[in-house]
Amino acid sequence: MDTLRGQEVRTLLAAPGTVGVIAAADAGGTPRLSVSRHLELLDDGRLVHLELFESSETSRNLLRALWFDRQVAVILHGANGHSLELQGKPVKAHISGPVFRHYYEAIRIRLGDVGLAAVWLIEPEAIRDDSLQTRRQTEKELFPFHLHLDQLAKKEGHRHA
């Protein structure tokens, strides 16, 4: 991930109201989604996801992705409409040691009486701006045949002018 994109992700993650959702496939290949309670971008470009529950579908699916070298996706959506989708692979799960302890203490300070199953590290491989403005612009520029004609049509006032 380049520096500019990294800063964009960090800014979005730091903004109040930003929601992060993780998507990973289950055993049958069905995408399963869950809201992440904590996402963070490390200096080395890896994304940290704190998985609170060992028994969660996400926990199993992140493990499945790590074991079988599959991608997962994370979408970040800010209150201002800014959206980024990251695709990558889970590469490590910390369950003990200083990294685990750091996040264990941090999440309990933030959320109260919760546990922490693992600190997952996800290596982003691609990032895409999924904001409405950006997508609309892309659609107009690259996919003109997808537009509805009324969006291009002259408005009443224009036609009679």
Binding site: A27, E54, S55, E57, R60, L63, R64, L66, W67, F68, V91, K92, A93, H94, I95, S96, G97, P98, F100, R101, Y104, E105, R108, L116, A118
Partner: protein
């Protein structure tokens, strides 16, 4: 697969794409053992890492040296390592760019972490004993080995693969580890350990068998009750996540254990799933309890502890030891899985450890089984848990880390 499979790690990974490479690697490292290079040992920091010392069982090279207690893989599971002489062709742990890596024939395979040291390892008890000599730790588990002798050895009937007594003598002489722990001192250490946030998710207790008592093994049961009761004083709940690996007790003994302590799961290791081999390799267990009674008691334990809270372990590979074992891995696997299924049907999980032939044991000069055998066994035992919906959370990667089959069960939704 006639006789013995000779597939390499890479070939097994290719043949079983539905099984995770990391679990296959872990299994092979346990099978072949590890050697730590001088460089790898130079990265070992006693203030940061757990260092060998309090193992209840010995190593394949017969030494008690300062080495990493064990390794963590990047999926969070552990490899309980057995340092092994280089002439036995073990995996090698060496540094690459300053980080520990597992290598095979010089080829880097995986980055690994040494087990982190818990805070309490730096402290001593009120009586001046280093706390690490009373209670030891895995990445998420507190290990209590309260009694390092096994009375089956009194008349020479210890298990043929076990070196607990030999290791006890080494531990006592070389490390000053008390052979029998005081319950209050154990509880003191547990109390200190619990001060470390997020470090532990289970209390684990095991020792050698103690035949003495009004009824055989009553003294062993009483001793566990005493320790678990003292440890339990640190918790707000009557039950706390815990596992006991012990002798197969009678129903009355199990009820006492369950009702008088916070114990939540129970394991009685049958060691080998074949009556004839059990009688041969576990003569003390055979003499005092017997194979069929051992199994009956495991099933009784399900009534008390519940389905998914009772297990038995096998030392996988001894069923193929010469000259009395199975001569074909196919035949051995079919037999073991058949017997494991009988137990699973009654609510008892079977897990395995990879047999490490150790020098101070009767079977110490033999070879363990092939990697493919262990991988098929792991898949088979995991499959039984899936079929019979048997949770194994109390003995999984987080709470133990020594069973490739329960690593696979991390994907089970129950």
């Amino acid at each position: 697969m006639a006789g013995r499979s000779d597939l390499t790690f890479t070939e097994v990974v290719q043949k079983y794409p539905e099984l995770p490479r990391l679990v296959i690697l872990k299994t092979d490292v346990q099978r072949r053992g590890v050697h730590y290079t001088a460089s790898a040992l130079s990265a070992l920091d006693p203030d940061v890492h757990s260092i060998t010392g309090t193992h209840i069982f010995g190593t394949r090279d017969g030494k008690i040296d300062a080495r990493p207690e064990s390794l963590l893989l990047r999926d969070g599971t552990s490899i309980i390592t057995t340092p092994t002489p280089l002439d036995q062709h073990p995996y090698v742990v060496d540094l690459l760019d300053g980080r520990p890596f597992l290598l095979d024939d010089g080829k880097p395979l995986e980055e690994v972490d040494y087990w982190p040291r818990p805070d309490f390892y730096a402290k001593t008890t009120a009586s001046g004993v280093p706390m690490k000599n009373i209670v030891s730790s895995r990445p998420q588990r507190l290990n209590i080995f309260p009694y390092r002798y096994c009375t089956f050895w009194n008349n020479g009937k210890g298990c043929a693969f076990c070196d607990i007594v030999c290791q006890m003598k080494k531990g006592k002489n070389e490390l000053g580890i008390p052979p029998r722990l005081e319950a209050a001192e154990v509880a003191e250490v547990v109390g200190e350990a619990l001060k470390e946030p997020g470090r532990f998710s289970a209390v684990f207790l095991t020792s050698g068998s103690i035949t003495a008592g009004v009824q055989p093994f009553d003294d062993e049961v009483d001793y566990y009750i005493e320790i678990l009761h003292e440890v339990g004083k640190h918790f707000t709940t009557p039950k706390y996540p815990s596992q006991l690996i012990a002798t197969a007790f009678t129903k009355a003994q199990l009820e006492r254990l369950y009702h008088k302590t916070g114990l939540m799961s129970y394991t009685a290791d049958i060691e080998v799933l074949d009556e004839g081999l059990f009688n041969r390799y576990c003569p003390g267990k055979a003499e005092w309890i017997g194979y069929r009674e051992w199994k009956r008691r495991l099933v009784d334990a399900v009534e008390i502890f519940g389905r998914g809270r009772v297990s038995t372990a096998i030392v996988a590979g001894i069923e193929l030891a010469k000259p009395h074992g199975f001569t074909s891995e196919d035949e051995a696997l079919a037999h073991v899985l058949d017997e494991a299924e009988e137990l699973a049907d009654k609510g008892v999980s079977t897990v395995f450890i990879v047999w490490s032939p150790r020098p101070d044991t009767t079977l110490g000069d033999q070879k363990n089984a092939s990697l493919e055998y262990y991988v098929r066994l792991a898949a088979g035992l995991h499959g039984l848990r899936e079929k019979y919906r048997l949770p194994i959370a109390f003995d999984d990667y987080r709470h133990c880390g020594n069973h490739p089959d329960t690593d696979l069960s991390r994907l089970l939704p129950f």
